[in-house]
């Protein structure tokens, strides 16, 4: 029975749940809690998939054989198949994660090196008020945009803005943008994104991993926006987003920026109750299946294999 429940749970967590959560609007009011909920969905989905892979052969064995036959060769085969299925999922995910981590770090190191060489030295000093631990780099560029590149562990990340950004934004707006980027770096938002990117690369078709990745990316932007709002005010953060959106030529990427601007202007900020409820849902997603399905199953399955 556990096998059926776990398979069902894995399918629901991989399909309809991410689809609904990606379309939900209330998440914008509580980005931090919503990101935790997304992470819980991902963890629960992977655990359920691994669990169902482990439980399925044993369930088959139980259906196909008499209790006294569940020893010897059939049992060894069942355990072997279970271990193989489960490790396929785990190894695939871990393999993708490691490869992604290595490639990403190589790419970032090269990007940091190039940005350091290309930066306009004289303007780096002009923009003050940087928290220690980050380095601002100003690049030549006619399009205003800003981003950040995490540093190696223990080293400074880079906040990169184009010259056009300095020309376009007023000082308050620029400070808000820098606070936004520093929030990304300080809270290691890159690791959150990396996790969901790995999940998508490991299981691109089966699950709604792309929706998950993109929804989390947008929530991380909103979370960083909130950091800029806290330190420099709603007007400055919304103004900066407005300037970015109106200068860019492309439409689809700008939709997101405009959505973030309007969210700030509408003063969307979630209540405590919504945040607490979301956190509770996240905890429940991981704990409830474990307590109700996995532990009873272990109680039945382990004695069969001879473990007590």
């Amino acid at each position: 029975m556990a096998s059926v429940w776990l398979t069902g749970l894995a399918l629901v967590l991989a399909g309809p749940v991410p689809a609904l959560l990606a379309r939900a609007r209330w998440t914008r009011a509580v980005p931090r809690a919503a990101i935790v909920l997304w992470q819980a969905v991902a963890v629960a989905a992977v655990l359920a998939a691994v669990g169902s892979a482990l439980a399925a052969p044993e369930a088959l064995l139980r259906v196909l054989t008499h209790p006294q036959d569940r020893t010897g060769v059939p049992l060894v085969i069942a355990v072997g198949v279970a271990a193989l299925l489960a490790s396929l999922i785990v190894v695939r995910l871990l393999g993708v994660l490691v490869l992604l981590a290595v490639r990403t770090r190589v790419r970032r190191a090269r990007h940091r090196d190039m940005v350091d060489l290309l930066a306009r030295a004289e303007q780096n000093l002009a923009v003050g008020s940087l928290r220690s631990g980050t380095v601002l780099r100003v690049l030549d560029g006619a399009v205003p945009f800003a981003y950040c590149v995490p540093g190696r562990v223990g080293r400074e990340g880079r906040v990169v803005v184009t010259g056009a950004t300095l020309d376009t934004l007023c000082p308050d707006e620029l400070s808000a943008v820098i606070a936004h980027e520093q929030a990304h770096l300080a809270a290691r938002h890159d690791l959150v994104r990396e996790g969901f990117t790995a999940l998508h690369q490991a299981f691109p078709v089966v699950v709604r991993s792309r929706e998950a990745r993109d929804a989390v990316a947008l929530l991380l932007e909103m979370l960083a926006d909130d950091a800029g709002r806290r330190t420099h005010g709603d007007t400055a953060m919304a103004g900066a987003l407005d300037a970015f959106a109106s200068s860019g030529a492309s439409v689809d990427a700008n939709d997101e920026v405009l959505m973030r601007r309007d969210r700030i202007r509408a003063h969307v900020r979630g209540g405590r109750a919504l945040a607490v409820g979301t956190y509770l849902a996240a905890v429940a997603l991981v704990v409830v299946p474990t307590v109700t399905i996995v532990i009873p199953w272990l109680g039945e399955a382990l004695p069969v294999v001879g473990v007590r």
């Binding site: 992604l100 790419r107 981003y147 590149v149 980027e181 938002h189 959106a245 990427a253 920026v257």
Partner: protein, 136 residues
Amino acid sequence: MSLGTLARVALGELERAVMAQLWSADAPLTVRDVHDRLERELAYTTVMTVLGRLAKKGLVRQERDGKAYRYAAAASREQMAAEVMIDALGDVGEDRTAALVAFVDRVGPAEAEALRRALDTPAGTPPPTPPRSPES
């Protein structure tokens, strides 16, 4: 500012100065050439160290010329700037790496594509190091 940070800042500034010399030169330079062009009080070995670091990072090409090594920028300043832009702007869609990190403003794939076409390089590969093309 700690001593270590100070040393790193100075080193970064030195790398920029050395790179500027390589970018402005018509032909590959020896360590001595770079040292003389820098016109400041620097030990020869310091310049050699900086060039070695840049070569290790893949930003400078090292070629043997008789007894001496000659150094050239692996890409022109314009090409490197374009590579940075493509790397940053192309940070959307299906990539083999995770994001550099999120953007306040993201320029869409169309722009990144246009940039790539302007550079005439296949997607995803860094621009090669062809003869200088000021228009890119």
